[in-house]
């Protein structure tokens, strides 16, 4: 199979129950069918189909030319993807776990993020870096990090994270189609979450936040793995007579000031939930910018319910680290409710 080969156009399929992993798989597959310049490579993404099976079957369908196992070197993976993109390909690459994206840090920060600006817009790098992130899967050390703060602090990168199968499909297709490099953060604890989907599905634009559940008392801001936690919290809170509006950020960079700000101005209180450590975490940006822009609408400080300021713990201890609905509710309870 060559890059020029024609594949049947992607058509509508009947609804089926899909896991997030399967939805991501379909997004890559459909993108590759639609666009012969999309190529996929990384560690174990070929015959094995990736350690989470997100690339399952793609090697069989598209062959070695378009789907390949690379040598084991993350800087090499991102660096060669950059060269391919300069030549007109749209590489989709995988970092096997997010702590293993760190060897690629220089290529991502000094080149991927800056090439377009450096060349006054002449060189676009339409590259997607898929990163399975966050914990709650009983993973041993280095397998549960949340690295989003590193990427969101880097101008030039677009950083998104889906929280459900429909967004996983829609956002990954949009990420692959984007002319900007996208860090696509996949919440690994949600890979097995299922939804009934009729593909191809198109959800809200990748760069927007969505209100997943309306409420009047508090805006609870989450993304990726903590969206499910936030929804569970909102559910629990009803029993206590508290009406929580849940926002799924979806896009971490850019941040959708309009959607989130509007919710905050309605509720006058907000909290942000993430797994990563609090100090210097992404929640700091959320809290800081919402406060800057909406200070006089706030009835209370914006809270951050996050992991502790420690390295991600071992499996037997992670339950004490992760934000839980009751920890979130307890935090909301520290506000003076007048």
């Amino acid at each position: 199979m060559t890059l020029q080969s024609m594949a049947p156009p992607v058509g509508a399929r009947p609804p089926a129950a899909l896991t997030m992993a399967a939805a991501l798989n379909a997004a890559i597959q459909d993108s590759m069918r639609d666009d012969p310049t999309v190529v996929l490579f990384g560690e174990d993404v070929g015959p094995l189909g990736g350690v989470f099976r997100v690339t399952d079957g793609l090697y069989a369908e598209f062959g070695e030319t378009r789907v390949s196992d690379s040598p084991l070197a993350e800087s090499g993976i991102v660096g060669t993807a950059i060269g391919m993109a300069i030549y007109g390909l749209r590489p989709v690459v995988e970092m096997q776990f997010d702590a293993f994206s760190y060897p690629a840090f220089e290529q991502i920060v000094s080149h991927l993020a800056k090439m377009r600006n450096r060349t006054r817009g002449r060189i676009s790098l339409p590259i997607v870096i898929r990163i399975p992130y966050a914990g709650d899967i009983g993973g041993v050390e280095h397998h549960s990090d949340s690295s989003e703060a590193y990427w969101t602090a880097t101008p030039g990168l677009t950083v998104v994270s889906p929280s459900n199968p429909a967004d996983a499909y829609s956002m990954l297709r949009e990420a692959i189609a984007s002319d900007d490099p996208v860090i696509f953060m996949e919440p690994k604890s949600r890979y097995w979450m299922k939804a009934e989907l009729a593909l191809p599905v198109q959800t809200a634009p990748m760069n927007t936040a969505v209100v997943l559940r309306e409420g009047t008392d508090v805006t609870l801001i989450a993304y990726g793995p903590t969206v499910k936690t936030a929804l569970a919290t909102a559910e629990l809170a009803t029993a206590e007579g508290l009406s929580i509006e849940v926002i799924d950020l979806r896009s971490l960079s850019p941040f959708d000031d309009a959607t989130v700000g509007a919710s905050l101005r309605k509720t006058s209180r907000a909290a942000v939930v993430h797994e990563a450590a609090q100090f210097g975490g992404y929640g700091a940006e959320v809290a800081a910018r919402l406060t800057e822009r909406n200070f006089f609408h706030l009835a209370a400080p914006i809270l951050r319910i996050t992991g502790f300021d420690i390295p991600y713990p071992s499996p037997k201890l992670e339950e004490y680290f992760l934000p839980t609905p009751d920890r979130i509710l307890a935090a909301l309870g520290t506000w003076e409710w007048s």
Binding site: L72, I310, L317, D326
Partner: protein, 406 residues
């Protein structure tokens, strides 16, 4: 002129035979083995005993992992010759820099099963005393530990000590930039370090020919100006002879050495891997016939160094260890959630103390709620995760987590 013409610098010869002292069939190799000679029978018998015990341990832990007693376990089945030879070549004061794959090397160096397995069971990231054993934590980020080994070896040299460092690496890991930097720093600084690359021919699912294009991993040594040895990694005699000489060379100021042991990973990468997706049973079978233990056994029996009595004693030792391992892995895990804050910094931090106090209060409250809940069982306001906690909590060690990879 075309570059296909051979140049004096590039060796285009096909891969040489790996250095070997005992062949597949358990016979001593009589032709030239690069000047290396067979270790004596006592040494070989000691290595045999360690390999048999290590394998029993490995098989036991794999079984326990299948039962869900551990989060993950990367087996070294089939790689015992590399692992045990590497450890055996070290003096007690030397340092070992292992990976997730090398639990049996730790075992052989005297680390207790529960301390090795603490990390794989999910109690803490590293469960043994690194200074007591002079073993760095088992490294997961590939090739990173090779640099630590070079640094430690260099410190030893700067202090005029005789400590040697030995780093274990996989074939896949040699593709990482850190492997290159480690080899180069070691050579430039003439550090007393030995790199043992266990070429088990796979990096999870990726076979060697997608990993590198050179003849052997040992060839890579040339580009650093250090000696490189291509050794049959299933021949413990050859591995031991070469690594011992390399350690001795390092100790006496001769600088670093790269040793490649050609071997095979018989098991899956970890329990969550499915090797049928990338190799056949037939591929594995070929290597089962090259088993490192069987061939040594044949040799030892043939020279009369191994009899049924010794075999029985070795088997007994192995079974005792397996039983002890089962026992300690079924004992409940003891974790203290508040310890989470204790080792992040040497200097105390007020903000961490606050977070520790927060968790402590939360645990106390949950414990109180749980008491209340058991008093009034229909209470529906108890948050879902507020099960019994105390500052030192007992878990059932069975885990239902999936998707964990080393």
């Amino acid at each position: 002129m075309s570059l296909n013409v051979e140049t004096p610098i590039v060796s285009t010869a096909s891969a040489p035979q790996p250095l070997r002292l005992i062949d597949d069939t358990g016979h001593a190799v009589t032709d030239d083995a690069g000047g290396f000679t067979l270790p004596d029978a006592d040494t070989l018998l000691g290595l045999y005993r360690q390999m048999v015990v290590a394998r029993r341990f490995d098989v036991q832990v794999t079984a326990l992992t299948r039962q869900g007693r551990l989060a993950t376990y990367p087996s070294a089945l089939g790689q015992e010759a590399c692992e045990i030879a590497a450890v055996a070549s070290l003096a007690p004061g030397d340092w070992l820099f292992p990976t997730y794959r090398d639990s049996i090397a730790l075992l052989t160096r005297g680390v207790k099963p529960e301390d090795i397995l603490a990390s794989f069971r999910g109690e803490w990231h590293s469960g043994y005393d690194q200074y007591e054993h002079r073993i760095a934590p088992q490294a997961t980020p590939l090739a990173t530990q090779a640099l630590h080994a070079v640094g430690l070896a260099t410190a030893s040299k700067l202090k005029r000590d005789s400590t040697v460092a030995l780093a274990l690496l996989g074939d896949g890991a040699t593709s990482e930039g850190d492997a290159h930097e480690a080899f180069n720093f070691a050579a430039v600084w003439q550090a007393p370090v030995v790199f043992v690359v266990q070429n088990n021919q796979f990096a999870i699912s990726v076979p060697l020919d997608k990993q590198m294009h050179c003849r052997t991993i040992a060839d890579k040594a040339i580009g650093y100006g250090m000696p490189g040895f291509y050794v049959d990694g299933n021949d413990v005699a050859a591995m031991y002879a070469v690594t011992s000489a390399a350690v001795e060379r390092a100790r006496t100021g001769g600088g670093p050495t790269l040793v490649e042991g050609l071997t095979y990973r018989m098991e899956a990468h970890t329990n969550s891997d499915d090797p049928s997706r990338y190799r056949t049973a037939g591929d594995v079978e070929v290597w089962r016939r090259r088993d490192p233990i069987e061939r040594l056994e044949t040799y030892l029996v043939s020279i009369g160094a191994l009899d049924d009595r010794v075999q029985a004693s070795i088997r007994e030792e192995a079974e005792d260890l397996a039983a002890a391992t089962r026992e300690c892995m079924t004992r409940p895990v003891q974790v203290d959630p508040l310890e989470l804050f204790d080792h992040v910094y040497a200097s105390p931090r007020p903000a961490l103390a606050e977070q520790r106090a927060f968790l402590s209060a939360e645990l106390a409250e949950h414990a109180a709620l749980a008491d209340q809940a058991s008093a009034t069982p229909s209470s529906s306001t108890t948050p879902p995760s507020s099960t019994t906690h105390s500052s030192s909590t007992t878990h059932s060690s069975s885990t239902t987590h999936s998707g964990a990879h080393a």
